[in-house]
Symmetry: C2
Subunit: 350 residues, 2 copies
């Protein structure tokens, strides 16, 4: 039975989410009836990805209020304490939690219904995220040529968003518009987010797709079978350089060598004007066993050292366009990237 989208939702007083740890073998909807269950789900990565974590945290605060009807504000506060530290470095999680708790506190001070206010705040956050997905897809659609064969990397769709996601959201919109011929999905070693998760999203959306080893992308470019590269971003620096999942930069170099546009789709919350350029970004290096083993099976001699950065940096000169909910930066540079942020701020205050 295919699960319903969105992949995180409030249903009948519970938080329901697609259990990402069970994909791709099993499609399982996880129902969290208590904050404890939701915290456990976050801890074991049943839900992951920046926007999705923010929404999960927000719903979690509402769940804390709803499950403590005698004193919903205390329930919301207790939930917030647990949720904020469920994944310590996930800034979106803490932000979603705080925003929803603030709404609950405001409601309590105004004598309004705390649970309803918290739930409304969480749903507003989810709605904003879904709206941002739609806006990015709309802005990006003119960049997709008719009959496009699009190559993507990592996982950027409904599993990490209340909407259709960033890069994947644009791909899905292009599919609906009849502009997409094929989606090439990099498997995205070492954690295989492309193979495990993006293929699942593509199947849910009915998009024709194939998965490939990351090293096979060069062969696709050489055969002229890639018309566009579309990826997300973990951080965009002030100069327009893009920090994203390791393996993105080689795609940019290949795209440049073959004259193929390289488009980054990410919300303006990803733009960090306080970081001048990619050299200033501290790249997380992860454990060797992500490379030297898989699902418990050793694939290199015991103790083999590994080079395992989580991200790489693509310089602005290799990025054809950055698509945000506030518009498109192209060419990509300090001026056009700053303009995206200005437009977003104007949009939220207008």
């Amino acid at each position: 039975v295919p699960v319903r989208l969105p992949t995180i939702a409030w249903r009948d007083g519970t938080v329901q989410l697609v259990d990402q740890t069970r994909l791709p073998a099993d499609e399982v909807l996880l129902t969290c009836r208590t904050v404890t269950e939701l915290v456990a789900a976050i801890r074991r990565l049943a839900v992951r990805g920046a926007p999705a974590l923010g929404i999960a945290g927000a719903y979690g605060v509402a769940l804390g209020a709803a499950t403590n009807p005698a004193d919903p504000l205390t329930g919301a506060r207790a939930a917030a304490q647990l949720l904020e530290v469920a994944r310590p470095t996930a800034v979106n999680l803490a932000a979603g939690v705080r925003r929803t708790l603030a709404a609950a506190v405001d409601a309590a001070e105004a004598g309004a219904d705390v649970t309803s206010a918290a739930l409304a705040a969480a749903q507003a956050l989810a709605a904003e995220d879904a709206a941002a997905s739609r806006a990015m897809a709309e802005h990006g659609l003119p960049l997709v040529p008719p009959g496009a064969r699009v190559l993507t990397h990592c996982n950027t769709g409904a599993l990490v968003s209340a909407g259709e996601g960033t890069a994947f959201g644009l791909v899905a919109a292009a599919h609906r518009a009849g502009a997409l011929r094929h989606l090439w999905v990099d498997e995205t070693r070492p954690l295989l987010q492309g193979a495990r998760l993006t293929t699942w999203e593509a199947r849910q959306a009915g998009i024709p797709h194939s998965v490939l080893p990351d090293g096979a992308a060069g062969s696709l470019f050489a055969r002229g079978e890639v018309d566009l590269v579309v990826i997300g971003a973990d951080r965009i620096c002030a100069d327009g350089s893009v920090v994203n999942k390791v393996g993105s930069y080689p795609l940019a170099v290949l795209a440049h060598a073959h004259g193929v546009p390289f488009v980054v789709v990410a919300p303006t919350s990803t733009i960090d004007l306080g970081t001048a350029c990619g050299d200033d970004v501290q790249i997380e290096h992860r454990a060797a066993d992500e490379v030297t083993s898989y699902a418990g099976t050793l694939v290199a001699p015991p103790g083999t050292p590994a080079y395992n950065p989580a991200f790489d940096v693509t310089p602005a000169r290799l990025v054809t366009a950055i698509v945000c909910e506030s518009g498109v930066a192209s060419p990509v540079g300090a001026g056009t990237v700053a303009a995206l942020v200005v437009a977003a701020r104007a949009g939220t205050t207008s």
Copy 2:
């Protein structure tokens, strides 16, 4: 207990080889006492790689003669029949078998000892392969700068050669010469020859090394941590374009973008002057399950299609040098590549 090199040898009337299917978890020496056992070992890929298969086939014919002392020529012929078809598309296997059988037939016609002649022919083949490894390493050594951090792809060392191999042989020679600072080993998806086998060879040779996801190579180049790329080749076309394990071409594009030399090490038997250029090469496309599963675990939804070419093509303009046993072609083009073949022929007839 570390196994002894070479990884295929004739010992005490048997063919001994390192069981590649047990690496990297276990280092197991497989002793084949009969042709049937050797054929089974070849079939289940306990031994693989073009030169190694040729040598295995040659020793197998000698084994057929030795295990049928009443009529060694009939034993050799029967062995040849079984071995030639053990891997139908492995041309080196059939070539090694035929050459050794021809020596056995010649010995029988001359009234000489058939088993000794077959064994001598097999050992000569192995010795030639080892000598070619040494010659390639010698010719290539001046291309390795002092303190080099070398990136390699796939598996090209002692596991696929009677010597130290092609690209890996050069790396090992540079290590002994004190010129090698570090070896970066692409894991080489989908079959992980780098992670499973090249790391094992590096450990055996005492070479400092790290394994990396293929997509992380771009990050290494960007950080200035690659001084040289050294790979092998499955076929070199008349124009100097290089057909090698998929993932080689992206490394060539990255090396070019970063001004890093890209060197191919392969015997002249790899040069195919009858194939004009890479466009004329039929690339083998392999089964999807190599990509959609990993170390026996499903990593994509069941039935997900995969793009899984075994090889890609690197055009000559991206190749800094081709190193053969007969010399070095640099710059790489039709003239210099043909000269390598001419020099090799002159060498064998002189």
